[in-house]
């Protein structure tokens, strides 16, 4: 099972009644697994995609309010979108158990940054679980609901790309029934009026000691003794695998604290410090543990890790980096021949985004370059040759709002290129801002009727985009529908030129289904 799948199966077996999510690599497979699970179907477990991570988080909290067990899944940057309900859900607390599963992407295999969600867990003051392997991923999801109900707060499960997309055998646990559903005892539990929120926040702060105590006795935190006290090791999550990979039978000669549950188990780490001459921290993502141990004054004790250069400051760990940090000599390596060419990802042959960019590039010729703001999706590949068509990709929905800001600054016309799923995720509110000020921007919704980059999940706005734009207040004559195929090229250029010349908000919807999802459907039909 993939790590992602193990979490999904663990949650199903743990009595989950619903999963809420917006697709995002490397978290997508969790929800897809539930969607394809027979048991989930029999139990009628909710698994439809949400419009974005914030709506997903809130729906999961609503399900918890009603007394059932819920999970919300996202990639790390998705948690930024959902940060408001996430932080506040720690203060309202939960009724039914709630898991917040976040997949971080160190080395940015398919992301804009490599932020570490453990900081968010600490920020929200809730326990964080970080599995080292697929079995722990399953166990944590399975048992996490009970833990959430026991403490009355949501529990975060943090994984990284490598565990999410790596397969190994998993032993299932007994299948639990779903909660029946009971309303909160306190009718005011979820009301965060300041007077109530202050009390609730105090309660959350008081719980912190309980969380630390739970970490001391957690099955996921272990003190593994070793004979050689010249070094003590702290290995968090999947980094543990890379450490023990270096030793025959996985037997590390140094005392080692394996971390799978936060906040950190204080006594365990104190013991490591008192027994060992120095500590080396292995953690995937930011050096959060290392920073905490180091403190501000360095405390006269040697802590090694990503901050002192023992390990790289950025990027994913791997067994070779880990071996080097542990003092092993590097194995002989053959070099990569210098003649190799890079093979970057590219837009598929026949993809409608290609036709959109061909037309846009031609329409922009007379206007000038460096004024196309884009967004997050397959069409971001328009940044690469042969198109070189876009000048920004920042966060979901930023194309429209950045174009508006640039137009406010006098860059007229400014252009936004956004996909259908990204538009419904976070583009609609920005479009409303532009409409209210009649900003001279041209928004191109390159609509392939799916969330293509993550593998073709349903897009929440399919078939409704023009009506959404009308509803937001875009003038009907400036909502233009195009058919992005090569033979319509001249027509597309003409329409784009007309709308670029308009001194107000235009939305050009270029509508043609993703050729990948179309191909899958045809194949499905043929079988």
């Amino acid at each position: 099972m993939l790590g992602a799948e193990a979490i999904a199966q663990g949650a199903i077996d743990g009595g989950m009644s619903g999963v809420y999510a917006y697709p995002g690599t490397p978290s997508t497979e969790i929800t897809e697994y539930v969607q394809n699970s027979k048991l989930a179907k029999e139990r009628n477990i909710h698994s439809k995609w949400s419009a974005n991570e914030k709506t997903a988080m809130e729906s999961a909290l609503g399900m918890s309010y009603a007394g059932k067990r819920s999970m919300v899944c996202m990639k790390h940057v998705g948690l930024n979108v959902a940060a408001d309900p996430f932080i506040n859900s720690a203060i309202t607390g939960v009724n039914g158990g709630m898991l917040v599963t976040v997949a971080d992407d160190p080395s940015m295999h398919s992301s804009q940054n490599e932020q570490d969600s453990r900081y968010y867990g600490k920020f929200a003051l809730i326990p964080v679980l970080e599995p080292a392997n697929q079995q722990e991923a399953y166990d944590m999801a399975h048992d996490g609901f009970e833990m959430s109900e026991k403490f009355g707060v949501p529990i975060m499960i943090r994984i990284t790309t490598r565990l999410s997309h790596s397969r190994y055998g998993v032993m299932p646990k007994p299948r639990l029934d779903e909660n029946k559903g009971t309303l909160p005892n306190d009718p005011k539990q979820f009301i965060l009026l300041p007077a109530l929120a202050r009390k609730k926040y105090k309660k959350l702060v008081e719980l912190q000691d309980d969380f630390v105590n739970a970490s001391e006795t957690s099955l996921y935190n272990t003190y593994i003794d070793g004979k050689d006290k010249s070094l003590g090791i702290i290995a968090c999550g999947i980094a543990y695998n890379y450490v023990i990979e270096n030793y025959e039978g996985g037997k590390c000669p140094y005392p080692l604290v394996k971390i799978g549950q936060y906040p950190l188990p204080k006594n365990m780490i104190e013991k490591l410090k008192s027994e060992c001459a120095k500590i080396l921290v292995f953690e995937e993502g930011y050096p959060i543990v290392e920073e905490m141990l180091k403190g501000f004054f360095d405390a006269g004790y040697e802590i090694k890790g990503r901050l002192d250069g023992t390990l790289p400051r950025d990027g994913e760990l791997n067994p070779s980096l880990t071996a080097k940090a542990l003092g092993f000599e590097a194995k002989e390596e053959m070099p990569v021949p210098s003649m190799l060419a890079n093979r970057p990802p590219m837009l598929c042959t026949g993809c409608s985004h290609r036709d959109v960019y061909d037309a846009l590039n031609e329409a922009m010729k007379e206007i000038g370059d460096k004024r196309v703001f884009s967004d997050i999706g397959c069409y971001t590949l328009g940044a690469l040759p042969p198109f070189n068509a876009i000048n920004s990709c920042v966060d979901m929905g930023a194309s429209i709002t950045m174009a508006k800001g640039a137009a406010d600054a006098g860059l007229v016309p400014s252009v936004a290129v956004i996909g259908d799923s990204t538009f419904t995720h976070s583009g609609i509110t920005g479009l409303l801002d532009a409409v209210n000020e009649k900003s001279p921007i041209t928004v191109i919704i390159s609509d392939n009727s799916t969330t293509a980059m993550t593998g073709g999940q349903d897009s929440t706005g399919t078939g409704k985009l023009d009506k959404i734009c009308l509803g937001v207040g875009v003038e009907p004559e400036h909502i233009r529908i195009l058919n992005p195929v090569p033979k319509m090229h001249d027509e597309m250029v003409k329409v784009l030129k007309e709308e670029l010349a308009y001194n107000g908000v235009s939305v050009v919807i270029a509508e043609r289904e993703c050729i990948q999802t179309l191909g899958k459907k045809k194949k499905h039909k043929a079988e």
């Binding site: 397969r167 023990i244 071996a323 194995k331 390596e333 990569v336 060419a341 590949l381 980059m453 593998g455």
Partner: protein
């Protein structure tokens, strides 16, 4: 027993099927299997790789350490070379010789194939050609498994069973074609 295998190719060439078939065969042989794969961005015609680890003991790391892969198994000749730092001194490179050219600066073929002279253990098969002759051009990935079979330390019948299980849903015709491809790959590597 331990086999660390780097699988490589281009998105869409069937790397994950290769991993699934060998993985299934290893499970049939009561071995542990750990496999890290690439999803998302890399699928769009880009370079794709997977780390497949097979062992009679529990496997720790999801990734293969540099300089210790027993085999690079590649459905594309340039992609195999990209992962040479992973290969151990006595490891094997088993590759398809048909290039997948979807970039403008793909190296000159003769020059590219010369790079293989520096590698001690190499098996080169024209998997695309073999698969085409069998009337099943999409099975070139399975031909490569066949070519690797003698070095996998997994009984050949288990590889065949792996194919039966992985392609089971697609019907007998597809299974038979892939079994043919597997055998043809083995035969081609022996010649």
């Amino acid at each position: 027993m331990k086999k660390d295998i780097i699988l490589s190719g281009v998105g869409g060439q069937g790397i994950l099927s290769v991993a699934a078939v060998i993985g299934m065969a290893a499970l049939e042989s009561n071995l542990f299997v750990k496999q890290a794969e690439v999803h998302g961005m890399s699928q769009r015609g880009g370079a794709v790789q997977s780390h497949l680890r097979i062992s009679s003991e529990e496997i720790a790391s999801d990734l293969i350490p540099n300089g210790s892969a027993d085999m690079i198994l590649s459905v594309e000749p340039m992609e195999a070379l990209r992962y040479l730092p992973f290969l151990s001194k006595d490891g094997w490179v088993i590759t398809n010789t048909t290039p997948y050219v979807n970039i403008p600066d793909y190296p000159e073929m003769d020059e590219l194939m010369k790079q293989y002279d520096a590698i001690p253990n190499v098996i080169k098969v024209n998997a695309d050609e073999i698969a085409k002759q069998l009337g099943s051009p999409r099975s070139s990935n399975i031909v490569i498994i066949g070519a690797a079979a003698p070095h996998l330390d997994i009984p050949f019948e288990n590889l065949e069973n792996g194919i039966r299980k992985i392609f089971g849903r697609k019907g007998d015709k597809i299974i038979d074609k892939n079994l043919e491809a597997l055998r043809a790959g083995r035969d081609a590597a022996q010649n």
